[in-house]
């Protein structure tokens, strides 16, 4: 069991791309930690640098308090599941699972024993003598997981663990993964570009952009108090409303409406107001606009309001309360759920 400490880490590719840029991060022992970000933000490179597959250009990686920055991947006490699972096609499931033991020249009987025991824990018992090509996507994923946990390492690294599964299977695998991680109490870091997956699975999330961590916190913090407009935009299954506004005394004028504000800034200062569509309710006051579209999301519907100045504001309404397209409507934020960002994109206050 071990936590991970990352200090001032940079990874620069030979072509000069700075994939990870002077990054500090701590992963607590036994935690399920998500690295979240759009494509090309450096999250996979960071994971590979922790694993030792990419050499760190600068900085340190400590696992369980031991500096492993210059260690070979095999000497770091980590195991990893790759996005394509990287199961060896010429070996059976049992041989795949026991591969870490084969590398360590464990006796064949022990290899088989560990493979059987691990496979049972991941409901793969009947499949031990199949080859990976004869397994379904979910079974392949569980085999890759089994191989990663067969040898008790300190840290488990997962690169986009669910992205190769179809939507239905993904939900099952998500629950399964979370339970497995709880049972083994393994320090686990996983990479994903899917914010819903990160919020659902992780104990803590690091949102990354251009090789840096933009925000680090629990899923709740990241969802409710995004530290800047990038995170605000990226997190949430319906995109957050980010509307330009101006300070007017103790209020902020946005899209033709005055919202109460906690900001103590001079008149005329430009700000950005962020409200999630889920935190907007139909009311007598607030944003006024005409309903331009209604999108059915199942239990709820996403209504897009077109305000007088052309700004589009989304709000989520419960089923059977959908307004007609073209209707005039007002929507106001739930108290405490409005976010005020400065011109630099950083969070100033909430109200």
């Amino acid at each position: 069991m071990a936590g991970i400490e990352i200090a001032g880490l940079s990874t620069v590719y030979p072509n000069g791309v700075r994939a990870v840029d002077d990054l500090d991060l701590g992963v607590v022992d036994g935690e399920l930690f998500a690295l979240l970000g759009p494509s090309g933000c450096g999250k996979t490179t960071l994971l590979r640098t922790i694993a030792g597959l990419e050499p760190a250009t600068d900085g340190k990686v400590l696992i369980g308090g031991r500096d492993v920055t210059r260690e070979q991947p095999g000497a770091r006490g980590v195991s990893m599941v790759f996005q394509d699972y990287a199961l060896f096609p010429h070996m059976t499931v049992a041989e795949n699972i026991a591969y870490p033991l084969r590398v360590r020249r464990a006796p064949r009987a022990e290899q088989r024993l560990v493979a059987e025991r691990t496979a049972e824990g991941l409901s793969l018992s009947g499949l031990l003598d199949r080859r990976p090509g004869q397994l379904s996507g979910g079974q392949q994923q569980r085999t890759a997981l089994a191989r990663a946990v067969a040898l008790e390492t300190d840290v488990l690294l997962l690169d986009e663990p669910l992205s190769n599964l179809d939507a239905r299977l993904r939900l099952e695998a998500r629950t399964f993964l979370k339970r497995l991680q709880r049972e083994l109490a393994l320090t686990t870091v996983f990479v994903t570009h899917d914010q819903a997956e990160a919020l659902a699975l992780a104990d803590r999330v690091a949102v990354m952009e251009s090789g840096r961590v933009r925000q680090l916190g629990t899923p709740r913090e990241v969802f409710q108090r995004p530290a800047d407009t990038f995170v605000a935009n990226f997190i949430g299954s319906t995109p957050m409303n980010l509307v330009d506004g101006t300070v007017r005394g103790d209020r902020v004028e946005v899209a033709g409406t005055l919202l109460p504000s906690p900001l103590d800034l001079p008149d005329g200062t430009p700000v950005v107001v962020g409200v999630r569509p889920e935190y907007l309710v139909v009311a007598e006051h607030g944003f006024a606009g005409r309903v331009s579209t209604v999108e059915n999301l199942g239990v709820t519907s996403l209504v897009t309001l077109e305000c007088a100045d052309g700004t589009l504001v989304g709000l989520v309404v419960p089923e059977q309360e959908e307004p007609a397209v073209g209707a005039e409507l007002r929507a106001t934020p739930t108290p405490g759920r409005s976010l005020f960002y400065g011109e630099d994109g950083l969070l100033l206050a909430t109200a």
């Binding site: 030979p14 694993a51 030792g52 597959l53 070979q72 991947p73 095999g74 000497a75 980590v78 195991s79 990893m80 790759f82 996005q83 394509d84 699972y85 990287a86 199961l87 060896f88 096609p89 010429h90 591969y99 870490p100 084969r102 590398v103 360590r104 080859r131 990976p132 090509g133 392949q140 191989r147 040898l151 190769n164």
Partner: protein, 273 residues
């Protein structure tokens, strides 16, 4: 069924027949002549006998030359396959500038090295190394000639092995040699099998190099001996040549069948393959 159609049809069948006969006659000769009491250069229904086989086995150099061929081919094939596998793996994985140019240059040079153009320098070099009349020396020269093409072919197979397989093995602590032996080569097995058969067949049929470098008739391989099989009168010894030719062709066929059934020119397939 116009007359023109009939004529075209007859012409087509005749053409196919001629082509078929052209390729079939030597094979049929190889099947019948060894067992004919009076083998000639023509094709005819044989007077069945095994006398030719006995004559061939009594020939002073026939069997030793086949053994020499085997020694040459096994050494050359093993050297080619092992070095080609190592070189193909490194060339496939290591980032060095001008790698592709190097590969193409190798391939280009290989046709020169094995070709007639380099025979004189190769002979002089082998002579100065004292390797004339050495079967191992000759095998090494043959292997050297085959290596560039073998590396080139095998590199393509190694390129198709996903990098994540190796990285996965490395994370589990595998050394570079284990990565190569456990993962890369087994996955690239069809390529290795191809190189094995290709280099064996090439070395087995190589005439020029052993002819130049092995002067002692007791050390010459079958391909060279075949040329010298003459009777007392100096004309082709037709009681030995057919049986010898048949024996000469067997190892290649056996090797092909063995590799094809045992290792298979097939792939087990990973994800999405």
């Amino acid at each position: 069924m116009t007359p023109a159609w009939v004529v075209r049809r007859i012409g087509f069948c005749t053409l196919i027949g001629v082509v078929l006969a052209f390729f079939a006659v030597p094979m049929l000769w190889l099947a019948s002549a060894p067992f004919d009491a009076d083998p000639g250069l023509g094709l005819r229904w044989p007077d069945w006998t095994l006398a030719n086989v006995a004559t061939t086995l009594r020939h002073p150099h026939a069997l030793t030359s086949l053994v020499n061929s085997l020694v040459l081919c096994v050494v050359a094939t093993v050297v080619t396959t092992v070095f080609a596998a190592l070189a193909a793996y490194s060339l496939s994985r290591v980032r060095i500038p001008g790698r592709d140019a190097l590969l193409y240059l190798l391939l280009l040079l290989s046709s020169v090295v094995t070709g007639t153009a380099a025979m004189v320098p190769i002979f002089v070099m082998v002579l100065q190394l004292g390797l004339i009349d050495s079967r191992f020396g000759t095998a090494l020269v043959i292997a050297g000639g085959m290596l560039p093409a073998a590396i080139f072919i095998l590199k393509d197979f190694v390129d198709s092995v996903p990098r994540s397989y190796e990285e996965s093995a490395r994370v589990f602590g595998a050394s570079p040699r284990q990565v190569l032996g456990h993962v890369v080569l087994p996955v690239a097995r069809p390529g290795v099998a191809t190189i094995l058969v290709w280099s064996f067949v090439n070395a087995w049929g190589n005439f020029l190099l052993p002819f130049l470098l092995l002067r002692d008739v007791g050390k010459q391989p079958a391909a060279v001996l075949l040329r010298t099989l003459q009777d007392e009168g100096g004309s082709a010894n037709l009681s030995v040549i057919p049986v010898f030719s048949l024996l000469y062709s067997i190892p290649v066929v056996v090797l092909y069948l063995f590799v094809s059934t045992r290792y298979g020119f097939r792939f087990h397939g990973g994800i999405k393959s």
